[in-house]
Symmetry: C2
Subunit: 552 residues, 2 copies
């Protein structure tokens, strides 16, 4: 029996949420003396926080018939028009224009904002690493005081415009009293850009197959947090779900014939992601984590009892990798391609006679053969004009031999990116102690406080840190719970990767960030995303009792 009324539980709450509730109640529809001034001085409920912004104290209404005016060389983009339609659906989901009761019928509705102008300077839709995602957003009343009236997004690329659309959608709030969409604290002037070019989420479709619709749901949700790289860990030892036309038996390694991705499915996912400004980086993890390859081609196993690492001694192994990568090159245009290289236990190479013989013939230790394998796979990727990404073991073991174009992907612990960039490599930060989503005991603060540049003071070395990535390994995450394991903690990392370090690293994050993250979590749920409570003891745990989304 929960006897507290909502009002009572608000006032007796011991949680430090005062800032949020100043915001909540200062907007109260039923308080004729309400004012937005408290919010002005309080928090900004945008996630991730924009780099530079100013706001005011006006409330503007937004026309449910909001029109799009486009300009610039890139204004005619289909991606932009489709995004505008998506965001209209998000912003106006309550405003269907049907008023069933007299109270609101017949009112003359005049809106402050009836048009969104978007100017895109470049007509290139090329989506590559480091593409310009900056934008400027103005939202102001059309009057003599504002230079620019209405709502305007200016960006150099369509992808910057997409980021601006997301921010605009977060400024738009449905007001239940007037039943209209309003922008509070106008005029807004926002100048925004990401801190890091690479803001990733790893999805693992080998431990559990994720249907295409589910991957699309996740891509949609990534765009809400301005994440921009889907690292698709498509294959691992448990299953090989992807079609490879050149080696058509490979996907016999799928769990079942229904848990598969056709090449067209993969292309569909890439296209869906591009429309949201999201790169798809595929991973083919060799020579370990590849047992499932042998279900279709058993010759790629050293022996039936030694199924991974893949057989280093056969040209066939590299023929398959080459065919696979050539096929994937037709699907994945992103310049980075992940070759894995982690957790390679070479013991059984030594106990397989023909491999042992090959090692002796080539005068290689198993460790050297591991290096040989990784470098030969890198050569294949590079010959296809890909930039290889490898998990940090390759760097830790033979940094001096790695191709200098290699991007080192940290995961084992802290301190790796400083070493990698000191040697001139680029680096992606995914320290498992703070950015592995399957670590359910890492709270949102752990994700939020992680810093990809930690230990790197030199500005030119800092530039070599491409960014970071949160990893959703799939051993215990399937369709039923993957979204609630990703969110809201991935959003904590997303703000770290987007926003200005100084703005989000000062003060007590329990009062500066937590209420904003709780607000963003509720925004995700309103958009149909199964984001879990922010402060439960373990990630993805159910709420412990009845309550408001904004308190859980």
């Amino acid at each position: 029996m929960i006897a507290n009324s909502p009002a009572k539980s608000h006032t007796t709450s011991t949680r430090i949420l005062s800032s949020l509730f100043i915001a909540l109640f200062s907007f109260s529809l039923f308080d004729p003396f309400s004012s937005v001034s408290a919010v002005n001085e309080s928090l900004t409920y945008l996630w991730p926080l924009p780099w530079e912004f100013t706001s005011g104290n006006e409330t503007l209404s937004v026309d449910p018939g909001l029109s799009l005016a486009i300009g610039g060389y890139g204004g005619n983009s289909d991606i932009l028009r489709a995004a505008f339609d998506r965001y209209r659906g998000i912003i106006f989901k309550h405003s269907n224009g049907v008023y069933l009761f007299d109270r609101l019928r017949g009112r003359r509705l005049v809106y402050d904002i009836s048009k969104l102008s978007i100017v895109v300077n470049s007509d290139s839709e090329d989506l590559q690493l480091g593409v310009d995602e900056s934008y400027t957003l103005y939202v102001a009343k059309k009057d003599g005081q504002s230079i620019v009236g209405g709502a305007t997004i200016e960006a150099n690329t369509v992808y910057g415009a997409l980021r601006g659309l997301e921010t605009f959608s977060q400024l738009c709030t449905f007001d239940y009293g007037t039943k209209s969409v309003q922008v509070y604290q106008a005029p807004w002037h926002i100048q925004d850009k990401p801190s890091f070019a690479y803001r990733g989420l790893l999805l693992d479709t080998s431990r559990h197959y994720l249907p295409v619709d589910v991957i699309k749901q996740i891509i949609d949700s990534m765009s809400y947090a301005k994440l921009n790289v889907l690292h698709w860990h498509v294959i691992d030892e448990q299953s090989f779900p992807l079609e490879v036309p050149t080696y058509p038996n490979l996907w016999k390694g799928a769990y079942t014939k229904w848990e598969r991705y056709t090449i067209e499915d993969a292309a569909d996912i890439v296209s869906f992601a591009k429309a949201r400004g999201i790169h798809v980086m595929a991973e083919v993890d060799v020579p370990g984590h590849a047992e499932s390859w042998g279900n279709g081609y058993p010759d790629i196993w050293p022996s039936p009892s030694c199924r991974e690492p893949l057989d280093v001694s056969k040209n066939f192994t590299f023929d398959v990798i080459s065919g696979l990568l050539s096929d994937m090159k037709k699907i994945f245009p992103f310049e980075l391609f992940h070759l894995g290289g982690d957790e390679v236990n070479t013991d059984c190479w030594n106990s397989t006679p023909h491999v042992k013989q090959w090692l002796q013939d080539h005068n290689l230790t198993t460790k050297e053969a591991y290096r040989y394998f990784v470098l030969r796979a890198q050569d294949i990727a590079i010959s296809l004009n890909w930039t290889p990404v490898n998990w940090e073991e390759t760097f830790n073991t033979f940094a001096e031999n790695l191709n200098p174009r290699t991007v080192v992907h940290n995961w084992l612990g802290p301190g790796v990116c400083p070493k990698a960039v000191a040697r001139g490599f680029r680096c992606i930060f995914s320290n498992q102690g703070v950015w592995y989503l399957d670590h359910l005991d890492v709270p949102w603060e752990g994700f939020y406080n992680a810093e990809p540049l930690e230990g790197i003071d030199n500005a030119s070395e800092q530039k070599l840190v491409l960014g970071g990535e949160v990893c959703m390994w799939g051993e215990t995450a399937d369709t039923s719970n993957v979204q609630q394991t990703i969110w809201p903690r991935a959003a904590a990392a997303a703000e770290r990767l987007w926003s200005k370090k100084e703005a989000i690293s000062t003060g007590n994050i329990t009062s500066t960030a937590l209420p904003r993250l709780e607000y963003f979590r509720c925004l995700l749920t309103q958009r149909g995303v199964q984001a879990a409570p922010v402060t439960n003891k373990y990630a993805r745990y159910p709420p412990t009792g009845p309550g408001s989304c904004y308190q859980q």
Copy 2:
């Protein structure tokens, strides 16, 4: 480290899944000797199981440009056309007609089924209790042997046609080898209808607010299992999220000003549900479970320290109920309306001076006053031409006084419906021991084996059992986990409520039903629904390790 290959784990599995795997592997794309004959003799992967069906041994291909031919008085229905478009999206999500590799390019594609004919005999779209949901579905090759070639659905109402569309979509399987949609085991001839007119799911939006988009996701998923009543437990003691124009302060009882439903939202939900053949039965639970009402109108509380049951002594209380129900009558056309009446602890009425005085003046015990309250609320509902539904406490306490139109809603335990129908009342079965979804320790078998007609032998009494309902109480279920708490167990109840009792009550359900339910769970995930593993120790628990959806 999970060392098993998929193949290995299949063969070493101790789970009794042989029937399923006969089905899986007999279809193998890579086995030139594969045959569908094993499946013919095995299970039928339709959920819920149709009443009567015959199948054959042909495989038919379905044209991704499938067209709709409509006939009958009801063929021109907008509901039907929209449903056809939805199901085309579901059936052909992989068949985008883009072949990126030569292997499939330039093939001349001839399909066996290029048209779906739907004949609807009635043009009435009236959706009331007991509406005819029967349909006939034929899928056969167009040749001399079949009287009807192609695919044809015949139904008396558009709602029967919707059920037939769902079944047709479950017959259509994407074949990853030919990259086309196929119907196996054709020709199919299915004659189907529900066992019970009322097949419900309760959603509780008071303990946790569920956004409109989430409610729509749930409604969509209900239609896949042929459930047909959304029992919307919209208000409870914790929060009052619904707008009531006549008493506009009531939704001050919402958790926050953002966790609310406008009247237009409610109408939108009703319309969305109707398009899927789903009734929405709203509940206003009085006089208990109503504390949140007093946040807007404190006079409805007996006193600040006695907040429920609502004040039985004031006409104001019944004025509010009357206004609320009158407003809701404009939104909810379903003939049933739920008035709650459960778990009423009247102790504090006696300790509130003005209520105690009123009880004395009217010579009523608190128990009699509870009856008075329920009956007066019933009178209001009946005056609005609603059929009242009450939780079983009202029947258990004063059956002799209940309006004979009352529908008794069982929940406390078994044996209530037999008593209710013996007295001539209609009944809905929701025995909490087997059909409460928040009871995480009740496995799928518990839901599956429940029988609404248990203990009722007389045919005329059996007719008084409208059906049953699974209840998703929201104390620990919010947007993040509500779908995985509902599914797949709600589907077990859905088959119980739809299919022929004799067909699903014989044999060992571990071999006859479990593989089919696992298949249906995976179908839900492919449609983007977060359905949990079927056989985990507790409902909604994550998978315990890597594996196929079809094994978890």
